[in-house]
């Protein structure tokens, strides 16, 4: 946006902040002239010099050695603020960057901190808070993380630390995981980075049908990160042991309870150390065919569906551990089928760089898993390493490369899972009564004590809404298409598959419903999402759309 570029050097002023001599120069990069002027007036009043940039390119071109601190907007146009932050860190590793953003998303804050932002402030920002951060940043040396005037020679300390960290890491963290456990097959790979990260993981059998998996990534490198990672791993093992012993045998402690308990134990020291870690704590229950997980700002786990050869990404909603003010963690439940595979990993995979500096990325990883999800878990991990190494043309990584693949195996239940109920109808709204009759017939098979009349009606409405959506959106009301409905009941759940060959329709892009009476449409997805226990939309390689809806038969588990 060339028209909006302004660059102006502030006049030298009598500067209380900088003490004697020239004022400390701060670069303010924001696309809004108003915001820049607002920050400039506050900073100048406090005695700082301000250089303004209206775009990322301009910001990078203005980074001279006289700039001591950068205030950077995450939402800058063209190149976004996060990319700009990475460029700044590459060229000026010791320059503190304070990110400002309207985004309240945890992922953004975590990512910014990971890319080396000094701190992260959300709008509406308090000038006092920014000034306090500037004062702190101006006293801190980013390479050592220590306050200046601490003395010493950073290079030698740093090299010794790296060797030491590597040794501690080998001593404290596990080399691998069992290849077979509780009807699961596991594969694992962990290649420590040159600088030694704090990745940690564990796989623990809780009882004959439940297996807990822990994967975490401590923000930071060297000895502190390694020790904290190992300590966190111990805390989880201890919390699981403690809670399992103190609860009666029939009810295991929930993953969210275990995470909350570890968080309570560790928050004091994490706050003191000013460290935090991302985490995924998952329980794989092969009796209920259910994965329950608590994700705290970790990379999104990939769920490979054996039946459709498609993937879904398991999103988390919690902040990383070490962020204060959390006493409750949200747990998410995901049903799976035998043959499915879960791929857990650290950012070392997705953030491996290609020769031109581009990331391997989540999308590329998901595509890789989709194409290779049928490999044996260990083979898959090895193939992932080859893929990433080939991409980055390197076998050494700047972050730890950690991945864990878990396959659900139980061939005898595969038989049980074959579709028992099938309905094939023309894609036409006049056939909705057949959808209702079919749904009722399947539900009646369970008896009223498992699926009562009220539940049948709610399952019927979900089926009706899905078929209506397919007719209206996938086939756009055109005749000639058909819809195949399969019902696959198991002991624990009732899974419905709705297949069509209409156009690909992105249900996630549908606008949210308006409830004030001004709109007559757009409620179907809302009803589906709030009535079924689990919904997944996918499209397979043959161009077939699939909506998969699950109802848990025994309530109590989903909530």
């Amino acid at each position: 946006m060339p028209g909006d570029m302004t660059c102006r050097q502030s006049p030298l002023s009598d500067s209380p902040a900088a003490g004697q001599g020239e004022p400390l120069q701060i670069l303010v990069a924001h696309d809004s002239r108003v915001v820049r002027a607002y920050l400039q007036s506050h900073l100048e009043k406090a005695g700082y010099g301000v250089v303004q940039a209206g775009s990322p390119d301009e910001a990078l071109s203005l980074l001279t050695s006289s700039i001591r601190i950068v205030i950077l907007d995450l939402g800058l146009p063209e190149m976004n603020g996060m990319t700009c932050l990475r460029h700044i860190r590459e060229r000026h590793p010791d320059l503190p960057v304070i990110m400002i953003s309207t985004s309240l998303e945890t992922a953004h804050a975590v990512q910014a901190m990971k890319y080396g932002a000094f701190d992260y402030v959300t709008k509406p920002f308090d000038p006092e808070k920014i000034l306090a951060l500037i004062r702190e940043a101006s006293r801190t040396d980013l390479v050592t993380g220590k306050q200046q005037q601490a003395g010493g020679t950073p290079e030698t300390v740093y090299e010794n630390e790296t060797v030491m960290a590597s040794r501690i890491r080998r001593a404290l963290l596990p080399g691998g995981v069992p290849r077979e456990l509780n009807g699961l097959k596991a594969g694992c790979l962990n290649i420590p980075s040159v600088l030694i990260d704090g990745d940690f993981y564990d796989l623990l059998a809780v009882n004959e049908t439940c297996t807990d998996l822990i994967m975490g990534d401590v923000m930071g490198k060297g000895i502190p990160a390694v020790v904290l990672g190992a300590s966190a791993r111990q805390h989880f093992a201890r919390a699981l042991y403690h809670h399992t012993r103190s609860s009666d045998h029939s009810s295991l402690p929930r993953p969210e309870q275990i995470v909350a308990s570890v968080h309570r134990d560790m928050i004091g020291s994490l706050t003191e150390l000013e460290m935090f870690f991302t985490l995924c704590y998952a329980r794989i229950d092969t009796e209920k065919n259910l994965l329950s997980y608590v994700d705290c700002g970790h990379m999104r786990t990939i769920h490979f569906h054996h039946d459709t050869s498609t993937c879904t990404l398991l999103q988390g909603v919690n902040m990383p551990l070490g962020f204060p003010g959390q006493d409750h963690f949200n747990e998410v439940l995901v049903p799976f089928a035998p043959g499915d595979l879960f791929f857990f990993y650290s950012d070392g995979l997705t953030e491996a760089r290609g020769p031109k500096g581009q990331f391997f990325g989540e999308e590329r990883l998901e595509r890789f898993i989709r194409n290779n999800g049928h490999l044996e878990p260990q083979g898959l991990c090895d193939a992932a390493l080859r893929e990433v190494a080939e991409f980055s043309r390197s076998e050494s990584f700047s972050d730890d490369f950690t991945c864990l693949a878990i396959r659900i195996v139980s061939p005898e239940t595969m038989e049980e899972q074959a579709p028992q109920w099938v309905l094939d109808i023309p894609a036409d709204l006049n056939h909705l009564d057949r959808v209702r009759d079919f749904t009722r017939e399947v539900c009646m098979g369970f008896g009223p004590e498992v699926v009562d009349e009220e539940r049948i009606k709610m399952i019927q409405i979900v089926a009706t809404e899905i078929v209506s959506n397919i007719v209206t959106h996938a086939y756009r009301g055109m005749s000639g298409g058909n819809i195949l409905i399969e019902a696959r009941p198991t002991r624990e759940e009732l899974i419905w598959y709705f297949y069509d060959r209409g156009i690909e329709y992105d249900f996630s892009s549908a606008p949210p419903p308006v409830f004030d009476g001004s709109s007559e449409t757009g409620f179907g997805l809302h009803i589906i999402a709030h009535t079924a226990d689990y919904v997944r939309y996918s499209r397979d390689s043959t161009g077939r759309n699939c909506a998969c809806v699950t109802f848990f038969l025994h309530r109590g588990s989903p909530e």
């Binding site: 709204l429 909705l432 009564d433 009606k457 709610m458 809404e465 007719v471 449409t521 409620f523």
Partner: protein, 112 residues
């Protein structure tokens, strides 16, 4: 579908709704409703024959509500079965339509 409209005082009472009000017949319902409504201000709909409603069915009721509101009137509904009430709740219909259990309660509400 043949809806029936009965005029009682200044109120139009719509009865004989179909057992299933869904995407398959919502358009027909909407057309018949708009013929019946005319410029009646106070309208009561007897939902008791309806055993199943989906979002398209609710959409048709919202269309009727907008028509009635345009002429400054009110839409009152009674006799909704459990499934219908559940869908009304999911669609927050209870916030924009007056809901009553019985015909008498619906009529009484309009006399006040």
């Amino acid at each position: 579908m043949t809806l029936t409209g009965k005029i009682q005082g200044s109120t139009l009472i719509v009865t004989a709704l179909p057992e299933f009000l869904d995407a398959g017949n919502a358009a027909a319902f909407r057309a018949e409703m708009s013929r019946l409504l005319g410029d009646h201000g106070q309208v009561i709909v007897d939902m008791s024959p309806v055993h199943f409603i989906d979002s398209a069915g609710c959409g048709a009721l919202i269309a009727a509500l907008r028509h009635i509101k345009a002429s400054g009137g009110t839409l009152t509904v009674f006799g909704a079965h459990k499934q219908v009430r559940r869908v009304f709740e999911l669609m927050r219909m209870h916030r924009i339509i007056n809901l009553f259990e019985t015909r008498q309660q619906a009529l009484d509400s309009l006399r006040l």
